[in-house]
């Protein structure tokens, strides 16, 4: 093996999952490879149907890959049944056992592992403390709130001290405020337990705020893996740039490229420095992405010019919708100050200034 196997908690190698037979075959995962490091908060992010949940189910053992390997600390577990994998799951629906109390739910995994009674009692107590639910040990799971059920589901999955914890959109059923709370709570739990978390979500904000690294998925493939900052600032593909945050796309001609950077000429004739995706050699025409907050509105000059069409006030910032002379929309987002806006009004002729190192070349 080229890399040290003990540094990766999970290694997915060339995994495909095909559902159905004959003409109705659907590839939910198409030759996916990804490595998830020890003690990492790793997020699988993508729209519904992108294959993120399928990948999670393959790691949990609820489904088996059509092709490829899944290594846990170097051992192939792809064909092991779920009860033989040191991996636990927090389900989207929580899936708490309704005929058991909170304490019995948390003890279940430990009992199945045949742990001694005293150890089980101690771990259940520790888990209840960890998720701040000590008072509710003897309650039925139907007698507690959604947020509390979420905590019990977490405690139950963490109690057997799995090598990897899988979380399948666990926050999607909670209301906004509780979701924010649980995001912080989850980060804390991951930090305190030191367990590798694999988190599935379609919520880009959740992914950006919680993850150490994110894998963006679409149509059964992983498009890009990187830190939240990488994914946001250096999207490699149009889908990634579009799915995460707001983006302006500009067509450009490549003037020169070397060492991961390129000089491109926009339709307006302005030349601009842009970063290249890793290992990417651009052809003569490319698409460049600029985030709305990386651009500024100016009265004169700028990398491109156009007509201001709309001004939308958002409290913390204002969005300016510009129609470029070269065609296409461009959104500029500017932080608001108490002294008011700069007096831009729809119909004004404006320029769009693009900051240093703001432009990123896309692969497609």
């Amino acid at each position: 093996m080229p890399d040290k196997p003990d540094r990766n908690a999970i290694e997915v190698r060339g995994v495909s999952k095909i559902f159905g037979t004959g003409d109705s075959q659907v590839a939910a995962l198409d030759d996916v490879s990804v490595s998830i490091r020890e003690n990492e908060f790793f997020t699988l992010l993508g729209p519904s149907g992108c294959g993120k949940t399928t990948l999670l189910r393959l790691i949990a053992g609820f489904d088996f890959p059509t092709d490829g390997q899944i290594l846990l600390h170097g051992d192939d577990i792809a064909l092991l049944p779920p009860y033989k994998r040191p991996v636990n799951t927090v389900f989207q629906s929580y899936a708490l056992f309704p005929h058991m109390t909170v304490g019995q739910n948390i003890a279940f995994g430990l009992e199945m592992l045949g742990k001694p009674k005293a150890e089980i009692a101690a771990r259940v107590a520790a888990m209840l403390k960890l998720v701040k639910m000590e008072a509710l040990r003897d309650r039925r799971t139907s007698q507690i709130s959604g947020g509390q059920q979420q905590r019990v589901a977490l405690a139950r999955a963490l109690a057997p001290q799995p090598k990897v914890l899988l979380l399948d959109e666990p926050l999607s059923a909670l209301d906004y405020k509780l979701r924010k709370e649980m995001q912080i709570e989850l980060k804390r739990l991951q930090h305190e337990t030191g367990i590798t978390f694999i988190f599935v979500t379609h919520d880009q904000e959740e992914a950006l705020t919680m993850s150490d690294r994110i894998a963006v998925m679409s149509s059964g493939k992983i498009l890009q893996v990187g830190s939240p900052r990488d994914i946001y600032d250096r999207p490699a593909e149009r889908f990634v740039a579009d799915f995460i945050g707001e983006s302006n796309f500009l067509e450009a001609a490549v003037v020169a490229s070397a060492n991961g950077r390129a000089t491109v000429r926009l339709a307006s004739g302005t030349e601009l420095a842009a970063a290249l995706p890793e290992g990417f050699q651009p052809k003569d025409r490319v698409t460049v992405v600029v985030r709305p907050e990386q651009a500024r509105l100016v009265r004169e000059g700028g990398a491109a010019s156009g007509v201001l069409e709309n001004v939308v006030y958002f409290g913390t910032d204002t969005h300016f919708h510009v129609h470029l002379d070269a065609g296409g929309p461009f959104i500029v987002r500017q932080q608001n100050t108490r002294s008011g806006d700069a007096g831009y009004a729809p119909g004004d002729r404006v320029g769009v200034a693009i900051g240093e190192d703001a432009a990123q070349v896309l692969k497609d």
């Binding site: 609820f62 991996v87 899936a95 056992f97 279940f108 057997p160």
Partner: protein
């Protein structure tokens, strides 16, 4: 609570319909019960209140034997049918997605509901008489097997309904928490399935207790159950003893249903 827009009680003829339906359902039964206390040899002419027919039934060796036999058969058949039905229900609901042949399986399991009982009865008569000839065995086994067979769909339906309404992810969660398939069944599926199994057991028991046609054809000499004994009585002189037996039968059924109601309510 929002008021439902369709109010069934406001429909024309509701009261007439309701009175008529309940009258037809319960008047005959009430008449039967009342005449069980008739101090007369006739089942139609009232003479006075008496418990003599209950006494008479209690002292009638044939009635007692038939009752015991009925309960033995019903208990054995209900248990066997419920075990088979539970397995069938698990096999037909715990599939990842519907496959060709699943509908056929449903139909196959529910076959006793669709094939006319008299056909099954004749078929069993011929089939079992062969086996009786070969083996020489003439015990209650034939009746138990026959009752088990036609009780399976009645036990199957409530169990399947319960399984279908159960969250599949609970079993997935158990497997995720290191429970082997057997432990998953024992610790998660079975406790949650219990009300369905009880309902199936009760239903099978009552259906078996009640059967006339198949029992009449399959039974060997001296194997009368309570219903076939009563049918036999009608061929001779009918006394209110029949009413008394029916009344006890009725009370027993009510008791079973009531017990089940409370047991299942506590579980749910």
């Amino acid at each position: 609570m929002a008021r439902p827009r369709f109010e069934v009680r406001a429909q024309t003829g509701f009261t007439v319909m309701a009175v008529l339906t309940f009258g037809l359902l319960y008047l005959p039964i009430m008449t039967l019960v009342v005449y069980a206390f008739n101090d007369n040899d006739s089942i139609a002419i009232w003479k006075g209140f008496s418990l003599r027919w209950f006494r008479s039934a209690w002292n009638n060796q044939l009635v007692v034997e038939a009752s015991i036999r009925s309960f033995q058969i019903a208990a054995a058949a209900a248990v066997l049918a419920t075990v088979a039905a539970t397995m069938a229900a698990l096999a037909t609901t715990r599939v990842t997605r519907p496959y060709r042949g699943l509908t056929f399986k449903y139909a196959f399991i529910n076959q006793p509901l669709m094939v006319p009982e008299i056909v099954t009865a004749v078929a069993l008569l011929i089939f079992f008489s062969r086996i009786k000839m070969w083996t020489g065995y003439t015990g209650l086994g034939y009746l138990i097997v026959a009752h088990t067979a036609f009780c399976i769909p009645f036990a199957y339906l409530p169990i399947r309904a319960r399984l279908e309404s159960m969250d599949l992810s609970l079993e997935t969660a158990a497997a995720d928490l290191y429970a082997t398939p057997w432990n998953t069944f024992r610790r998660v599926t079975l406790p949650l399935l219990w009300p369905g199994i009880l309902a199936g057991l009760m239903l099978a028991f009552v259906i078996s207790l009640d059967d006339v046609v198949i029992t009449e054809f399959v039974k060997s000499g001296g194997q009368d159950t309570l219903p076939t004994y009563m049918l036999g009585q009608f061929r001779r002189i009918v006394t209110p003893e029949i009413n008394a037996i029916s009344t006890v039968f009725l009370l027993l059924s009510i008791a079973i249903v009531t017990i089940f109601f409370f047991v299942s309510r506590k579980r749910a």
